[in-house]
Symmetry: C2
Subunit: 343 residues, 2 copies
């Protein structure tokens, strides 16, 4: 009897490569693969030359980082990409050519119409067996769409207004160091170095994430708007976003105002959201999620659900998740998990 | 020839008392009185017993802090209150009884229908000569209403959705110390003390400012909604708010979504707002105000003005101000300034 195959012909014990394994998201992918006990016959950790030779623990093994190059994907069944957009544009096609299914956390392919953009609990069915690349959405989008989908199915979305509070970890290791170093420099009255962000982030909020575009929106805001539409399959969803970087290490929060076609009480919203396994609902007003309390956790946490009397059928919500786990690494590995053959 | 009298019979060189002079806002009132060269024949600094005897510089004088008690207002023409609500409820009536005009920064009297709630550039005319108490609005409200008034006059407000990013200085000296101490404790791996806020504020955002009410809103959110309506004279203004404390020392920011009756382009909004002396407009997208850059400044700064396509005639804006200056002490002293006789 041969091997059972999963969706996209996935083997039960695939060869997995992580491209960008030494970054914040790549590292977390490694941790999540172990935590979710994803079976694999081999795990390859790929990174730039500087990191080659570094050793990482995976279960009882020690894995040596190899160089990310064209040859590195030979024989790989799955490639999890946690690289920059530029490296993804260069190496994702090579991984596909080598026969791997790619799950890519960069934004390089997300809005290409033929590439599925997936939060597994929301639109896993968007993946066709013939697909070779699956895009992992933007961190702020991932934590938003399960909530929006549940509300849409219950009452029809009319309009969404989002303001985000995004931690520095979304910008990588150098950004984590920068918040830490700037904060220390302030205490020690030393000069502040600004490299990872356009301005000082220590004790400051920056209303710019990613580059500014011609219409005055940032690319991050554009991603939240366009990726939400694509994942939800609502091409004309009325949604606007303001994305703000805050001096917090881990976790993204969003203040979300939703208008619906039909009325929904806060209690009904709590009940609807509570039915979804990926969400944790705080239905008591005095109890609410915060970035500090979601760091390292898997669920998207929703609180401060309350009626907004400024429009018919309007609600305010506060949505928080670990942007590196559910917002990136966990979501990518969950996609892989559902591609594996079910025994 | 006698003394010219200003509005409410204000003398040209009044006796001024500051109640709560040693707190963050009271201290800033002292600084602003000096910076704006407000004439006075005497300045009294009043505080609780613990601070009695402390010396503060005012122009070339040194002023000794006296005890805040019923007798302290005798002969005072103006009393600037920067105390807690409880102390305001106790001592404002005594100051009025002693003959002083009170400008009160607490929230104790703000929503009483007969008490004017004033941002001088917006509704100075709300003050009648017979008034004895003028309420100074909530810091988040002060920076919002001039922008809303300008947009309303130009195009009619239909709905406003506000999410705030509020610094710790709004919660007083102990709160400033708490952000500082918690941050240091994290660096030194010491235990964190939580007293001024309901949760750790260092490297965290707390979606609760002031107490939670039965409808799920916080009192801060209630203040933003109700005070905006009262100041703008729009009792039925459709407005909702989410107020969030961020780990920033000074300055409040707001992500503000506005829908209007008539269309307004971002360029038109910039032009309309630029005409108001209390506003500083950043019309280039790449240039935007931040909490770090407004600390110690007087203007309400507005940037990231952009069209929101999710609703007809909708706009997003980012509004930042120093919550202790324009959001509190400066606004109070500006009220006094306009009560003085003009020569």
């Amino acid at each position: 009897m041969g091997d059972f195959l999963g969706k996209m012909g996935m083997k039960s014990k695939p060869v997995i490569a992580i491209a960008g394994a030494t970054g914040v998201v790549g590292n977390e992918m490694l941790a999540v693969l172990e935590q979710l006990n994803i079976p694999c016959s081999e795990l390859r950790l790929l990174a730039s030359k500087d990191s080659v030779g570094e050793l990482y623990k995976f279960h009882s093994d020690e894995i040596r980082v190899e160089q990310l190059d064209g040859a590195a994907f030979e024989g790989a069944d799955v490639a999890l990409f946690a690289t920059s957009n530029d490296l993804a544009r260069e190496f994702v096609p090579l991984a596909v050519e080598a026969g791997a299914v790619v799950i890519d956390n960069s934004s390089a392919f997300r809005l290409q119409p033929e590439i599925p953009l997936v939060v597994p609990e929301v639109n896993f069915e968007a993946i066709k067996s013939s697909d070779r690349i699956i895009a992992n959405p933007n961190c702020s989008t991932i934590q938003l769409v399960p909530v929006l989908q549940a509300i849409h199915q219950a009452a029809g979305l009319r309009r969404v207004v989002v303001t985000t509070f995004q931690s520095v970890s979304g910008a990588g290791k150098a950004a984590l160091d920068e918040l830490w170093d700037q904060t220390l420099a302030i205490f020690n009255q030393r000069e502040i170095k600004i490299e990872a962000f356009p301005h000082q982030i220590a004790f400051n909020c920056i209303p710019q994430i990613d580059v500014l575009m011609d219409d005055g929106y940032t690319r991050e805001e554009f991603k939240i708007i366009q990726e939400s539409r694509k994942i939800l399959g609502l091409a004309n969803l009325k949604i606007t976003a303001t994305a703000v970087r805050v001096p917090v290490f881990h976790g993204h929060a969003g203040s979300v105002n939703v208008e619906t076609e039909k009325p929904l009480s806060p209690k009904e919203v709590s009940e609807i959201l509570s039915k979804r396994s990926e969400l944790a609902v705080f239905s008591e007003a005095a109890d609410y999620p915060m970035q500090l309390s979601v760091a390292g956790t898997d669920a998207i946490q929703v609180g401060r659900i309350r009626r907004d009397d400024s429009a018919p059928n309007a609600l305010n919500l506060w949505i928080v998740a670990d942007n590196i786990r559910k917002g990136a690494a966990l979501n990518a590995v969950q996609i892989l998990q559902r591609l594996l053959p079910q025994h």
